[in-house]
Symmetry: C2
Subunit: 313 residues, 2 copies
Amino acid sequence: MLLPSQVKICEVAPRDGFQAEAEWIPTEQKVHIIRQLATTGIQSLEITSFVHPKAIPQLKDAAEVVEQSQDLTDIKFRALVPNVKGAERAINVGIKKLKLMLSATDSHSLSNANSKVVEAQNHHATTIEFAQKNNVQVGGSISVAFGCPYEGRVPIDRLMSIVDRYNKFGVYEVSLADTTGMADPIQVYETLGALKTMFPTTTFSMHFHNTRGMALANVYAALQQGIVHFDSSIAGLGGCPYAPGASGNVASEDLVHMLHQMGIGTGINLDQMIAVAKDTKEILGHDGGSYMLQAGPCSALHLKPKGQEKVEK
Amino acid sequence: MLLPSQVKICEVAPRDGFQAEAEWIPTEQKVHIIRQLATTGIQSLEITSFVHPKAIPQLKDAAEVVEQSQDLTDIKFRALVPNVKGAERAINVGIKKLKLMLSATDSHSLSNANSKVVEAQNHHATTIEFAQKNNVQVGGSISVAFGCPYEGRVPIDRLMSIVDRYNKFGVYEVSLADTTGMADPIQVYETLGALKTMFPTTTFSMHFHNTRGMALANVYAALQQGIVHFDSSIAGLGGCPYAPGASGNVASEDLVHMLHQMGIGTGINLDQMIAVAKDTKEILGHDGGSYMLQAGPCSALHLKPKGQEKVEK
C-alpha cells in the first residue's frame, strides 16, 4: 500500500480549541501555549479567529495574541475569518494567510453564520478580493462536510458545487471539516476520490473530530487518497456543542503518534508534544480526549516481569 | 475499494471485560448482562474463562454463568481455557468451542501464564487432544500479537511460527489480539497480508484494544485484507493493566456503529446495543471508553435552528 511518507500538520487548538472553552483564558496563557507548541516542531498553526467579539468573546484578544507571537517566524500562521471585517483585522496585525468559513448545509450555516450557504459564499467574494489586494493567501473550508447534525449525511454533489465556487473565486486550497465527527472511513475515501478526480488542481486538507471514535480511521482513509494536510488540536481540545463531554478535535499527540508508528514523518517531536499536551491540560483544567495523556506512546515500554531490566525505546 | 459486506462480531465483555473488574460482579448480574446482550442480535459470545479461581477470582463462577445461560441457543458460546483442566471444566458444562491462550512473547507469556511461549505450546497439545476426543472445537489466540508492553513491536516471523504450530496441532482458527493497543493500521494491513499468503486455510479473527485510539483504524485496515471476524466488548469494558483509566477493548457499540455507517452488515441492532451498553455501565458503575455512550450515533440528528422540526433518522 502506497501512502505519503511525510505529512503536514496544522495545529488548531488556539482557534478551534480555545473558542470552545467556557472559562476566559488570559491572553498571556494563550500565548504561553502557542510558544510551547512552537517547541514541538510544528510548522503551521491556526492561531485564532477574527470573529466579532460578541459572537466568540473567548477570541476577542485575537490581535494581541498574534502580536505577541510575531517572533515565532518558523511557524506559518493562519487565521479564520468570517468576513471582510475580520480579514481587515487579521491583515492589520500581519497575518499572511486567511481561512474562510462556510458550512456544507443551510441548517448549519444559518446556525453558525446566520446566513444560507449561497449568501455566505456571496460575502466571500468581497473578502477574497480584499485579501488578494493585500497579497494575502486565502484558503477555503467546508464545515460539516461529511455529516450535518441537523440534516445528516452530506451528498458529494453538495461538496462539489462548493469546491467549484471556491475555485471560481481563485481559491484552490479547501479544508474539509468533519465538525461533529460523523464521517466514516469509506465515506472519506470515496468522497476524496471523487473530489480529487473532479478538482485535480485543488489541495484538500482534512479536519477530523473524534466525536464517534473514527478520526484516526478517517486519517488512514485520507492517507490512502494521498492527502498530506491534516488539522489537529493539542490535548484534543475543541468540543462538540451537541454532546457535552464528548471528544473534540483529534488530539495532535494521538495523530502524530499513529503517523510515526506507521512510518510517516511529521517533523514533530512526539515526546515534546505529549509534554505540551500535559501542560496545556493542567493550564485549562481538562483535555478534550487524548489517548497519549492516558496511556502514553507505544515506545514507552514497561518493566519486564521477574525484575528484568527496563526495556527503553 | 472492495470490503466485506457482512462481518461476524464476537462479544467478549463477559470474559475480557468482567475479568478486569476489581469489584465482584454477582453471578446473577453477569447472567443478566449476557441475557441483555442476547437481545441485540449477537451471534457469538466469549462467555467466560475457565482459569484457576485463584488466578482470576472474578471468573470463579464460570460454570454457573454458563449453566444459567444454556437456554440462549441462538448464540454460539466459546470459553477461554488455559489448560486441559480448564477445558475439562468447560466441556463438563456443555461448552462446544474453546479458545486457547498464548502470548507472542516470552516476557508476556511468563507474566501471564508463568511459562515461556514454547512451554505453553507444549501444554496446548494435551488440551487440544482432550477437546478433539470430546468433539469440541478449538481456536487459537495470540496475545500481544502486534506489540508487547515489555518487548515492543512483535516481528511477523514470530507470528508465523506460532500460527504454523497451531496448524500442526490441527487448529485453523487464530485470533490475533492487540492486547495493549499497540497496533497501527499499516502494521495490521501488512501483517495480515503476510499471514494470509502464508496460511491460506487459516481463519484469522481480530481482537483490538483502543488503548491508543487506533482500534477502529485497525478494523478498517483488517477489512481491507478481507477479515470478517472481530471481537469487541460492550461499553468498551476490559482494561489495560499498565495504564489505569485507559481505554480497553474497542466498544461493541462503536464498532457496530462504524461498520453500519460504512454499509457493512453485522446482524446487530445498534440502538438496542447502545441501550445494553448504557445498562451495563449503570450496573458496573463505569464504562471502558464508549463514544456511543458519550455522543450517540450519527443517526440521532438534532433540532434544526429557528425551531424547525426535528429531523429523525
